[in-house]
């Protein structure tokens, strides 16, 4: 007998509330393409951008993410391990107060969430955070 995914969700022990069982192909190329399209191939600096994500997702289907980059004209969010990495791009006008955005995203497996800011002066800043998606269980 093979277990269907639904059966599996109801039976497993010491663990399990899982997503992303099977290894998915790497999407590094997709992520690179997205970044290139956003930056036009310009050099990307570090710092000046903050990404707030949980270390371990409580629920991979809805992971709260906050990003901020003072002085940004726009911020792109990517989920590097999802089949479709693009999540959102926040655009800010000159009258925007905080250059920050919050959203909830679905993560299919443990992966890096990437944020790239296009600054008002045309430069780019990038940061990333690893979010673990786990079957859990066994907490002391």
């Amino acid at each position: 007998m093979t277990l269907s995914r639904r059966d599996f969700m109801t039976v497993t022990g010491c663990a399990v509330a899982f997503s992303g069982l099977a290894a998915l192909p790497a999407h590094a190329s997709l992520v690179d393409e997205q970044i290139k399209a956003f930056t036009g191939g310009a050099e990307i600096g570090q710092g000046g951008i903050e990404l707030d994500a949980p270390e371990i997702a409580e629920n991979g289907n809805t992971v709260p993410i906050n990003v901020s980059a003072p002085g940004a004209a726009s911020i792109m969010l990517l989920a590097s391990g999802n089949p479709v990495p693009s999540v959102a791009t926040f655009n800010f006008g000159p009258l925007s107060g905080a250059r920050a955005g919050s959203t909830r995203i679905r993560l299919i497996k443990t992966q890096d969430v990437v944020a790239i800011a296009k600054m008002e002066d045309g430069t780019f800043k990038m940061t990333q955070a690893t979010v673990k998606v786990t079957i859990g269980g066994c907490g002391g």
Binding site: M1, T2, L3, D7, F8, M9, T10, V11, T12, G13, C14, A15, V16, A17, F18, L21, A23, D52, P54, E55, I56, A57, E58, N59, P64, T110, T130, K132, T134, I135, G136, G137, C138, G139, G140
Partner: protein, 567 residues
């Protein structure tokens, strides 16, 4: 702020666990004649503020035996660092003599024979005596409970935590934080917390829907003690909805949230706090890392990983104090706080030797009253241990209690393979000891006890082992959950703890046939403590009781089915 040298001098001068003389395997009387309550409690009151820390009591109202881990592997920067040293290495690090009372309290070596000499540990009535003695010396000492208090026994289960609430209320803590309490269900937790006569703290307890701080659990509380404004900030277990069934408390979200911790420290400092204490259920490695990242925490009272250390760990001007579990220890920390700075401290990890410390009569009476309705049922003897059989759990891999539970699951549920959660609670049983129903509940009691039986492919079994191993051996402590490895029966494997996730577990073998596990083949697996809603099966304590009853005398061969590399 505090030089390591100063600290060591203070510790040497004051710690009960230092300078203990070596005992052979003497009889109980001889061992205990050298111990006295006065000596255990001896402490020259210091400075102007006293903290008393208890944590991870897991509803153990009565004295128990508790064997400390033999295997406790640290990875990454924590490799070979406290608390990831055990046995003789632990003794060497802290200057503890072999076979001494400190060795009995803090290590696993010769556990069964030392236990017969030194007797049981813990008991909330003994803890009450210690707390009262400290309060006699320092009437305004702060008593802080690190959580995992309303979980883990027959009476706690049947009263939905009320026995522990009543007992702890009598002990009058000043604040508490949480973990397993939430497995009572959010409705029950909310009801109890609204009645608590002390602060229920958690800067990282959030409303899940709005991702805002939960109203019922303030981040911190202020106390005036010895002319010092003390702030206590709570930090609940960060990974509750992952390590435990989130569906039981869907309104709540947790996480480490160390940026908010920094904001809270800054906020209480701005409000005039001169001493900032974090009452934490993070686990030791997470606390160590949080101490390094958050500035301005004077003391972290560390819980969750059941670590007991005879000296505080000091990092980034923060003292990290670890006070053990199951009521086995009480920590006292005296601090000299002047003009918003800690100028010095004195610390003592007080082992609760139950035959040496007199029970507090009021607390004894309360405990007996809580137990009375259940006494007949839980005192029933189900079996006994053989003359070479100790039952214990604590350690990164299977303990003998886990082996027995896994054996029961295979036998009673007719399975190829069994799995049991790597929790760290549960007292030990000595060789030749009667096993009562209460003893079985002490290692199995929980609100999601269903022993399921299902089929899993070899590939999926590998995924589970890899996933749980990464929760324990990820080199970044913030990605660890603080439990131990899932215990398995009927299955052998090799683990290289230093490999990345997906590559740690190899050579999985079905023990009954000696065959390699086939990724595409299905195996019948029995287990318990699933975090999924709707899991079906008899409660695990019934499964274990039936098995022990059939066995009569428990005697198991040594478990060599897990081969560890990279430790």
């Amino acid at each position: 702020m505090i030089a390591r040298r100063d600290f060591l001098q203070m510790a040497m001068a004051t710690s009960a666990l230092y300078g203990a003389s070596a005992f052979g395997n003497w009889g109980r009387l001889t061992a205990q004649q050298t111990l006295s309550q006065d000596e255990l409690l001896q402490f020259e009151t210091f400075g102007n503020v006293s903290l008393i820390h208890v944590t991870d009591i897991h509803a153990q109202l009565k004295p128990i035996y508790f064997r400390e881990p033999e295997i406790n592997i640290g990875v990454g920067s924590n490799r070979g660092q406290v608390p990831h040293i055990t046995g003789a290495d632990f003794r060497a690090a802290y200057g503890i003599a072999q076979n001494s009372r400190a060795a009995y309290a803090l290590t696993y070596e010769d556990f069964a024979s030392l236990a017969k000499g030194y007797g049981r540990v813990g008991g909330l009535d003994r803890v009450a005596t210690v707390v009262k003695a400290i309060r006699a010396a320092r009437p305004d000492a702060l008593l802080l409970d690190g959580g995992d208090t309303w979980h883990g026994s027959y009476t706690c289960y049947h009263t939905q935590g009320q026995d522990m609430v009543n007992a702890m209320n009598a002990l009058k803590p000043d604040a508490m934080t949480f973990h397993w309490e939430f497995t009572l269900g959010s409705e029950r937790v909310n009801d109890i917390v609204q009645t608590l006569p002390f602060a229920a703290l958690g800067q990282n307890i959030f409303d899940a829907e709005w991702d805002e701080p939960a109203e019922l659990f303030p981040p911190y509380s202020f106390f005036e003690r010895g002319g010092v404004k003390v702030a206590v900030i709570g930090q609940a277990f960060p990974y509750m909805p992952i390590a435990n069934p989130g569906w039981m408390f869907p309104e709540y979200s947790f996480g480490i949230r160390d940026e908010r911790m920094q904001e809270m420290v800054d906020e209480v400092r701005a409000a005039g706090a001169e001493l900032v204490v974090c009452l934490s259920h993070n686990g030791f490695d997470v606390d160590k890392q949080m101490a390094a990242r958050v500035t301005g925490l004077d003391v972290i009272l560390s819980g969750h990983t059941h670590v007991a250390l005879p000296e505080p760990y000091i990092g980034n001007d923060t003292l990290v104090v670890a006070s053990g579990s199951n009521g086995k220890f009480v920590s006292r920390v005296d601090l000299d706080v002047q003009k918003g700075r800690v100028l010095g401290f004195r610390h003592k990890l007080i082992p609760i030797f139950s035959d040496v410390i007199a029970p507090d009569p009021d607390m004894s009476a309360l405990i007996e009253a809580e137990r009375a309705p259940y006494l007949d049922a839980m005192s029933e003897v189900i079996g006994e241990t053989g003359e070479d059989q100790t039952l214990y759990r604590r350690g990164n891999f299977n303990g003998t209690w886990d082996d027995l539970i896994c054996e029961a699951l295979i036998s009673e549920r007719d399975a190829d393979i069994s799995m049991s959660p790597g929790v760290r609670w549960g007292p030990s049983i000595l060789p030749g000891q009667k096993i009562t129903r209460e003893d079985i509940w002490n290692v199995t009691s929980m609100t999601y006890p269903e022993a399921y039986r299902s089929e899993m492919t070899g590939e999926f079994l590998h995924v589970i082992l890899e996933d749980v191993a990464d929760n324990l051996f990820n080199p970044d402590p913030y990605y660890q959950q603080g439990g131990d490895m899932v215990r398995v029966g009927g299955l052998g494997y090799r683990i290289d703890v230093n490999k990345p996730q997906g590559e740690r577990i190899t050579d999985m073998t079905l023990l009954k046939s000696g065959e390699r596990i086939d990724p595409s083949k299905s195996y019948v697996v029995a287990g318990w403590a699933s975090v999924n809603e709707g899991t079906e099966g008899p409660p695990i304590w019934e499964v274990v009781e039936n098995h022990i009853h059939k066995q009569g005398v428990i005697s198991m061969p040594e478990n060599t089915s897990v081969q560890i590399k990279g430790a």
